[in-house]
Amino acid sequence: MDHAEAEQSQAVERYLLGELTGPEREAFEEHYFACPKCAQEVLAGETLGANVRAVHAGRATADLRIPRPGRLAWLSTPPPKVAWAAAALFAVVAGYQGLVVTPRMETQLSELASPQPVARHVLRPLTRAGEMIRIAAQPRGFVTLALPLDVLPDFERLAVEVRDRGGTTVARIETAVPRRPGEPLEVLMPARRLPPGAYTVVVSGWRGGERTEVGTYPFTVEP
């Protein structure tokens, strides 16, 4: 592919929009590595996209303002203050829903409906020697915490608590006991619930109304 061909076929736009087929994409990539003009166009497009995302991240709250009412000629008499307050409140709620809640839900639903890789981390009980398990922080998605369970008396169910450094419980679930001996207990955690810091997973077993701690699993989430 030469520069004229790239321009004629709108290769930059089609590349940035993901429209090129595999061979076309390879050919265009080979071209823009050798063509400073096209390389600059591609970089500008990527930079624009990255900054649109960054701007939107800060805009969700910045745009949350009460719209100024327009000049309505047919309204010669100002409405009562209560009505303006109600309208303003409605605008805030509707604006918040339209600008923040709905797009966020759309994104979250879209993410949940799409296949996605899940990082799996095998934690080590406190009683076992070795270095602290370190996990890289993720801004979104899920992480799986696999908890090896050495000895499991005849519990009715298990409780899993994730505690932060201060001992505050950040997540808690109850679950059935793994059926096969030696099978780790796996917990799927929303990654955003694990910002960088030190954590401990405490696994307890319940039997006849009595709770017994069966394992403690420290780990660190790193930025």
Binding site: H31, Y32, F33, A50, V52, H56, E106, T107, A136
Partner: protein, 186 residues
């Protein structure tokens, strides 16, 4: 990015270890590799590995006396080396594993941080504010929600050429606002 083409002199100085050319070479192709591999969802660490190995091989080849027949095609030569390195590092025996035992990362977020600056955010905000509501929505659907072109066209009621032109104009406006030397602000 303040140059217009690769020349025999550029390649010679790179082979000889000219620090300015070497710095330019690394910075220039690093950005392109970030885009190329990032669009394939490659993790940042993988991209770093590919880039370092590519740079090492290219410079080693040049120093070994390898002639670049068409200096203006030097970028394509670097690209070919990078493609080979990427293939090699993608093989199962080189499967990339992070230090914490996982091989997953959110590449998009990591790579965005390469390109986002406060100045650029201000300029992009200004570009977005100039756009009609529908055009702004199209850009956000594309960049923020990662909708496909087909889906944007269907939902917003525009055709593909409209989106391409919009993207082209928005990019030009952005570059105008950033000035000619926008890429140097990284």
């Amino acid at each position: 990015m303040n140059f217009h083409e690769f020349t025999a002199d550029y390649i010679k100085r790179l082979a000889e270890g000219d620090p300015f050319v070497a710095e330019h070479f690394r910075a220039y192709f690093w950005k392109l590799l970030v885009v190329k591999l990032g669009r394939r969802g490659r993790p940042t660490e993988f991209i770093e590995d590919v880039a370092q190995e590519t740079f090492r091989r290219v410079i080693a080849l040049l120093r070994s006396g390898r002639e670049i027949e068409h200096p203006e095609r030097f970028g394509a030569f670097v690209h070919a080396v990078a493609v080979n390195v990427e293939r090699e590092l993608s093989r199962p025996e080189h499967r990339y594993v992070r230090i914490d035992g996982t091989d997953f990362t959110d590449a998009r977020i990591d790579l965005d941080s390469e390109l986002v600056t406060e100045q650029r955010k201000r300029q992009v905000r200004a570009v977005l504010d100039e756009l009609p509501e529908r055009d702004r929505r199209v850009l956000e659907l594309r960049y923020l929600h990662d909708w496909s072109l087909e889906r944007i066209c269907r939902e917003v009621g525009v055709d593909a050429s409209y989106v391409r032109v919009l993207l082209h104009r928005a990019r030009n406006r952005f570059r105008e606002k950033m000035g000619n030397n926008w890429a140097a602000h990284a």
